[in-house]
Amino acid sequence: MLVVTSILAAGVLLGLVLKDKKRFIEITGRTAPWIVYMLLFLLGIVVGTNETVTGGFIKLGIQASVLSAGGVAGSVCLAVFLHKFLFEKGRM
C-alpha cells in the first residue's frame, strides 16, 4: 500500500510542477489507455496460468456479477434519496 500511495503521490507532484507543459500532459494522457491495455494483457496471463482461477471461472463470474449488482443498486438508491431531499425543488 505504501508503494502504491508513494508512486501516486510522486505522480501528483510531478503533475503539479509540470501542469503548464501542455504537450507533456497531453502525451501522458494519451499513453494511459495503452498502459491499461498492457496491464490487462499481463493480468490475463497471470490469471490464465493460475489453476485455481481457471478451474472456477463461471463461479467467479457469478460472484463478480452479484457484487456489481449490489454496488450499483446501493449507490443508485442513495442517489435517489439525495436527489429527492437535497437537489430537487429547482435548486439544480
Binding site: 508503494v3 505522480g11 490487462l40 493480468l43 497471470v46 496460468t49 450499483v72
Partner: protein, 205 residues
C-alpha cells in the same frame, strides 16, 4: 477504464482474454507470470494517473462554484456502493465482508482496483474485482438512459462511480443533462482519487 471512451472496455476485454488464453495454454509460461510484470506496469499507470490528477487541480474549482452540496454526491456513492456490496457479500459464501467491500470500492475503476487487490490479497479476488468493476462500467455505458428516467439524474452518476469523470461522462451527460456534467466529473474524480486508498484499507479490516 480511465482516459478513453466506450470502445476502450471492449479492447480491454479482448486483450485480457488474449492474455488469459496465452497463460492457460502455457505458451507464455509460468516463468514470465512469476516475475509479476503487471506490478511494474501498474506502477507506471499509477504514476501517469498521478500526473493527470496533479495537472488538473483546476477542476476542484467546481466545488466552489457548486456549493458544498456537491460533496454529498461522491459520499452517497461510496456509502451506497459499500452498503450494496456488503449486502451482496452475504449471498456469496466464498467471499468475506472485507473482500466484498474492497471489490465494491473499485467504483468501476477496474484496472487499478484489480491489480491492487491481486497484489494485496490474491489473483482470484483480483479477477473478481476486474470483472465486477468492468460490469459496472458497461452497465453505466449501456443503461444510463433508462437509469436516469427511472431513478433521476444523479443515478447514472452513482452507477458510473469513478468512471463518471471520463469513460462514462458522455453517456451520463446525455442521460442526465449537461448541467450534471460538472457533478459527474467531480464525483468521479473524488472516487478515482480514493480508490488506491480505500481498497487496501478495506482489505486490511
Amino acid at each position: 477504464m480511465k482516459y478513453s471512451y466506450g470502445k476502450g472496455s471492449l479492447i480491454v476485454v479482448c486483450v485480457f482474454v488474449l492474455g488469459f488464453f496465452l497463460g492457460k495454454t502455457g505458451i507464455v509460461g509460468d516463468r514470465i507470470a512469476g516475475l509479476h510484470p503487471e506490478l511494474w506496469v501498474l506502477y507506471v499507470l499509477l504514476f501517469t494517473v498521478g500526473i493527470g490528477i496533479g495537472a488538473n487541480t483546476g477542476a476542484f474549482g467546481v466545488v466552489r462554484r457548486m456549493h458544498a452540496r456537491i460533496l454529498l454526491v461522491p459520499l452517497a456513492v461510496i456509502a451506497g456502493t459499500l452498503l450494496g456490496s456488503g449486502i451482496a457479500t452475504l449471498f456469496l459464501p466464498g467471499i468475506t465482508l472485507p473482500q466484498g467491500l474492497a471489490v465494491g470500492a473499485g467504483f468501476g475503476y477496474y484496472s487499478l482496483s484489480s491489480v491492487i487487490i491481486s497484489k494485496i490479497e490474491d489473483e482470484t479476488l483480483g479477477l473478481i474485482a476486474l470483472v465486477s468493476n468492468l460490469i459496472r462500467e458497461i452497465v453505466t455505458l449501456f443503461l444510463s438512459g433508462p437509469i436516469a428516467r427511472l431513478f433521476g439524474p444523479l443515478a447514472p452518476i452513482a452507477a458510473g462511480g469513478a468512471t463518471a469523470m471520463d469513460t462514462s461522462l458522455p453517456v451520463i451527460t446525455r442521460a442526465s443533462g449537461s448541467g450534471y456534467a460538472v457533478v459527474a466529473v467531480f464525483s468521479g474524480m473524488v472516487l478515482t482519487l480514493l480508490v488506491p486508498f480505500i481498497v487496501p484499507l478495506l482489505l486490511n479490516l
